[in-house]
Amino acid sequence: MEFISSVITFTLISIISVIGVYILTGLTGMFSLGQASFMAIGAYVSGALVVKTGMPFWMAVIIAIIISVMIGFIVGFPTVRLRRDYISLVTLGFGEAITSLLNQTQSITGGALGFSGIPKRTTLLLALISAIVCIIFASYFKTSKYGRQCIAVKSDELAAKAMGINISRIKMTAFLISVAVTSYSGALYAFYTTYVDPSIFGWKKSAEWAIMVFFGGVNSLTGSIFGTVILTALPEVLRFAAAYRVVFYSILVLLIINFKPSGLFGEYELPVGKIIKLFKGGRKEEKGNAA
């Protein structure tokens, strides 16, 4: 029971991280290989604030998100104007920089040994509610003018500019939202495991998330979520050794790229609105109105 509950919680936290990546990669077509570093910032900052200053959990989380977004702005500012390859390369460098910074500042972060003693605040319920709220935000975002402009930018930057879309600004918006969501997932993670160390936030984590988004279907939020569930929970339940899990992932994804390039779900979205009408429940929707 303990095991299952922890698998579910980790999967939910992954879903939140992946929603950040979905907005950035799935909708806007940008790849951040330093996305996990923002998770690290969320985790370390909120953890350190609570442990070192005794600040209340929620306040620490909010401050951590704000700091992540500010750092995201500094990283994004020179890069969003340039061709999309730059954001992957720059965030990759950023990720390495953050990892080395975390390793070096032993007095604050515990260095390579990790940062421990974080109180356990994240419960299965909190993770579940957070994931649902994030899903709702993301599905509204997708159908908003912002989401449309993101897809337009992904599809054709030149045409997007010709339609009066300020592409640097849209890219920055998408990037900062994704940073905020991912750093929040970091805070949840830290307060669940009560211990974090720099090694888990490397570029491969970011790559894994991008793969999950892609695996489910680039444009589809439903697909991204299912992709995350399949690729997080399945290997966990099957108790694959970590290294084999990676190989299993990669082969699966290479097969998909070669034989079903639109991903598992393509552009399909779960018609939640219709399902709710079908059941005619008075309760509010659970998954947002995925169009």
């Binding site: 077509g29 390495e96 390793n103 992904k154 930057e157 390039p261």
Partner: protein
């Protein structure tokens, strides 16, 4: 300090230049950032390691074997990860996912193969240092610098002066027109991957000698990426200059502040460059095509 540090920086820069060049060749031909390059370095460096341990070969045969292995693996990688995308002419997003997946696969294979341990190449040189009068230079630095320099010169000559090099440039410039001119585009792309893989093998062995050999060695590829950004994405010349510059700056800064912060410096150097001169040293401007 001084001269020894500069030579140290040049040697490091030369290895970064190998990475950056290997990366740039693929970037030019297919217009995407090949994130599998790092893991390929690790994989071929390990192949070289096990060959040298098993056979006791000296450094240069090991380098050759690693280069060949890198080239061949990259050919296979092109086939499983990128060929269909090129045929379908899909957007760069797919190349990206494919390349990080391929990279993860390579690294996964290495981890399963060798475990999470650290390895050291056997000592290839009789003496650790070479003396030029009062000047003392580490042998490995000298060999790294000279070999990388020689290989890069050969490559430049190949790209600028030979028929195949011309084909490579033509395909980089405009794939469709090149194809109309009778150039075998797919063969040229394969050649680019082979060359890039060879460079990855060489860089991998050098990095393994300079540091130690471990499954995440490929993460150092980020230096090559940063060098390409500083140099200007898409320009091989710019990448080489950027790499040398990065190697020198890094070595100097490390000398003052300590090696742990090196990635922070490289990142900050890149950020400053992007703010001040986003087109990079070479000033090539690769905007997404109109």
């Amino acid at each position: 300090m001084s001269v020894q540090i500069i030579i140290n920086g040049l040697a490091l820069g030369a290895v970064y230049a190998l990475i950056a060049t290997g990366f740039s060749i693929i970037f030019n031909v297919l217009k995407f950032s090949n994130f599998s390059h790092g893991a390929l370095m690790t994989l071929s460096a390990f192949i070289g390691y096990f060959v040298s341990v098993g056979t006791g070969l000296s450094l240069f045969p090991v380098i050759l074997i690693s280069m060949l292995a890198g080239g061949l693996i990259d050919l296979a990688g092109e086939f499983v990860a990128f060929r269909k995308l090129t045929i379908r002419n899909t957007s760069s997003i797919y190349y990206f996912v494919s390349s990080i997946t391929l990279g993860t696969l390579f690294e996964g294979i290495v981890t399963i193969w060798v475990g999470p341990n650290f390895y050291n190449y056997p000592r290839f040189f009789k003496s650790m240092v070479v003396k030029f009068g009062s000047l003392i230079v580490s042998t490995s630095d000298l060999i790294m610098f000279i070999t990388s320099f020689a290989i890069l010169m050969i490559l430049m000559f190949f790209i600028q002066k030979t028929r195949l090099g011309r084909a490579l440039r033509a395909v980089s410039y405009d794939r469709d027109t090149a194809s109309l001119m009778g150039i075998n585009v797919y063969a040229t792309i394969q050649m680019a991957f082979f060359i890039s893989g060879c460079l990855a093998g060489l860089a991998g062995v050098f990095l393994g000698i300079n540091y130690t050999l471990y499954p995440q060695l490929g993460n150092l590829v980020v230096k090559g990426f940063i060098a390409s950004v500083i140099g200007g994405l898409g320009s091989i010349f710019g990448a080489v200059v950027g790499a040398i510059l990065l190697g020198l700056m890094e070595t100097l800064l490390i000398n003052f502040i300590g090696s742990g912060y090196a990635p922070v410096f490289s990142f900050l150097i890149m950020l400053v460059f992007l703010l001040v001169r986003p087109r990079g040293i070479a000033g090539s401007n690769v905007q997404e095509k109109a």
